[in-house]
Amino acid sequence: MDDLEFIRNCIQADKHAWDEFVQRYSRLIYSYIYSVLKEKGINLDTSLVDDLFQDVFLHLIKDDFKKLRQYQGKKNCSFAGWLRVVVINFVLDFLRKKQPRCVSLEEKLDTDTPALKDTLKDERFALSQDIILDEEELKNLSDCIHELDSEDKFFVEMHIYNGMSLENLRAILNISRSAIDMRKQRLIKKLKDCFQSKGFQLEN
C-alpha cells in the first residue's frame, strides 16, 4: 500500500488505519515539535510538547480531515516529508500567536542557549569582540552578498546564516558531499576577494 492509499483509508475514519497512522507518525510529530521549540529557545516543559502533540493530530483530522486531505502525493512526495512541513508550520504558527514574552537580557533560556546579551553581541547583527564593523562597512560587505547569484545566496542563507549542516543542505540540493565542500570553499574565496576589494582587511 502506498502513502496516498494509506492516507485515504485514514480519511475514511477507518479506525484500524488511524491507529496505524498514530503508531507510524507519532515519533516524527513529537520529535519535530520538540526540535522546533528547542531551536526557537522556548522553555521545554513537557506539558507544552504534550499539548502540541495532541493539537497536531486534531489539526489533521478536524473538519472531516480537511488538513490530511491536502496531501496529494504529487510527484511522489512522501507523506512523511509533507507531514514534517505541516508540523513545523503548526508549531511556528502557535509561537506567532502566543503573546511575545519579555526576556531579560541576562536570562538564560536553557542551558544550551546563551543569554540574549551574548547572542546580540556575537550573532547576526551585532559586534563581537574581535570583529568591529560600522554600518558603512556592513553596507559595503552586503553589496558583495547582493552580487551573488541566487544559488550562492541560498547556500549562505541556509548554511552560514541559518546554520543548516552541509550534510542536510547537500541532500536538499541533491549534490555530492565533495561538490558541496567545493562550493563552500569557492564561495568563501569569492566573498573574501570581494570584501578585500571593498577595502576590508582580513587578518588571520
Binding site: 475514511q12 475514519a13 479506525k15 488511524w18 498514530v22 507519532s26 515519533r27 513529537y30 520529535s31 519535530y32 520538540y34 526540535s35 531551536e39 504534550d50 502533540f53 495532541q54 493530530f57 486534531l58 483530522i61 472531516d64 491536502q70 496529494q72 504529487k74 510527484k75 511522489n76 512526495c77 516529508g81 514534517r84 512541513v85 505541516v86 513545523i88 511556528l92 556575537d122 550573532e123 547576526r124 547583527f125 570583529i131 556592513l138 553596507k139 560587505l141 552586503s142 558583495c144 552578498i145 541566487s150 544559488e151 541560498f154 549562505v156 542563507e157 541556509m158 552560514i160 546564516y161 541559518n162 546554520g163 543548516m164 542536510n168 536538499i172 541533491n174 568563501i188 566573498l191 582580513l202
Partner: protein, 233 residues
C-alpha cells in the same frame, strides 16, 4: 563547532543584506511543494523558483531551516493512546437501518430490510409483505424505521438508466419535526461522495447507480448513526 571568523563576517553581512531584502505578503508555496523541494524531487526550474522565494520570505526560510532533525524522540505511550482515541471505531456507531433492494426492469424487489416498508397508507414489515406475495413494487418505495425518538424515512425512486434517487427524512418521531444540526454523508464502497446538512427535514442524493452505500449521520459533529443500503446490480 566554532565558526571561522570569515564565516561570522559573512553571517553579519548577510543579516544586514537580508533585513533590507525580505518582503512581506508573498504568496508562499504550499506544504507539498515545499516538501518536494526539501526531498529534491522538483525540476531544476521549479527548485530555482522555490529558492528565490525562500531568499525573500522569512517565513519559508524559517520552515526550511528547521527541517533538520537533530534528535529523534518517542512520545510516551499514553499520549499515543490519546491520539488514537480521536478517531472512533465505526462499528461503535449504531447501525440504524440496513436494506438490500434489487432494481428490476420497471420495479423494485426488497430482498432484505431491517426497516418497515410503506405501501399505500400501510407500514408493513418485510415478512408481512412476503406473506402477501408482494414480490415486485412498481411505485417509489419508502423504508421507515424508528430509533428511540427519531424517525428515519428513506424514499427510493427509480430513475431511467438504472439510476435511483434517494430522499432521506430524519424527524422527531412524535412531532415529525426535522431535527437540527444533522449532517448526512454518503459513502459508496467506502469513498465519501457527498455530505449535506439536513434542510427542511430532508437530504436528497440523486442519480445513484447500483452499488453498496453507507450513510453516516452526525449531529453537532458527533456521529450518531449509520444506514447501509445495498443496491445489487
Amino acid at each position: 563547532m566554532v565558526m571561522e571568523k570569515i564565516e561570522r563576517i559573512i553571517k553579519m553581512a548577510y543579516g544586514f543584506f537580508k533585513q533590507r531584502n525580505s518582503q512581506d505578503g508573498l504568496i508562499c508555496p504550499n506544504e507539498e511543494e515545499l516538501a518536494l523541494f526539501l526531498e529534491a524531487k522538483l525540476s531544476p526550474d521549479e527548485s530555482k523558483k522555490i529558492k528565490e522565494h525562500i531568499l525573500k520570505c522569512k517565513k519559508c526560510s524559517e520552515v526550511v531551516s528547521l527541517f533538520e532533525l537533530k534528535q529523534e524522540l518517542l512520545p510516551p505511550s499514553y499520549l499515543m493512546e490519546k491520539a488514537k482515541s480521536l478517531v472512533e471505531d465505526k462499528n461503535d456507531i449504531p447501525l440504524w437501518l440496513e436494506a438490500v433492494i434489487m432494481l428490476k426492469e420497471n420495479a423494485f424487489s426488497v430482498i432484505k430490510s431491517s426497516a418497515d416498508i410503506l405501501l399505500g397508507n400501510e407500514i408493513l414489515p418485510l415478512p408481512i409483505l412476503r406473506t402477501r406475495k408482494i414480490e415486485e413494487i412498481h411505485q417509489p418505495v419508502s423504508l421507515i424505521k424508528d430509533i428511540e425518538n427519531i424517525r428515519i424515512h428513506i424514499e427510493i425512486s427509480r430513475l431511467e438508466m438504472m439510476k435511483i434517487k434517494m430522499v432521506i427524512f430524519i424527524q422527531d418521531k412524535t412531532t415529525l419535526q426535522p431535527l437540527t444540526g444533522m449532517r448526512l454523508s454518503l459513502f459508496k464502497e467506502g469513498v465519501e461522495l457527498e455530505s449535506h446538512f439536513l434542510k427542511e427535514g430532508k437530504v436528497i442524493f440523486d442519480e445513484l447507480k447500483p452499488a453498496s452505500y453507507e450513510i453516516e449521520v452526525s449531529q453537532n459533529l458527533l456521529n450518531v448513526g449509520r444506514i447501509k443500503l445495498d443496491l445489487p446490480s
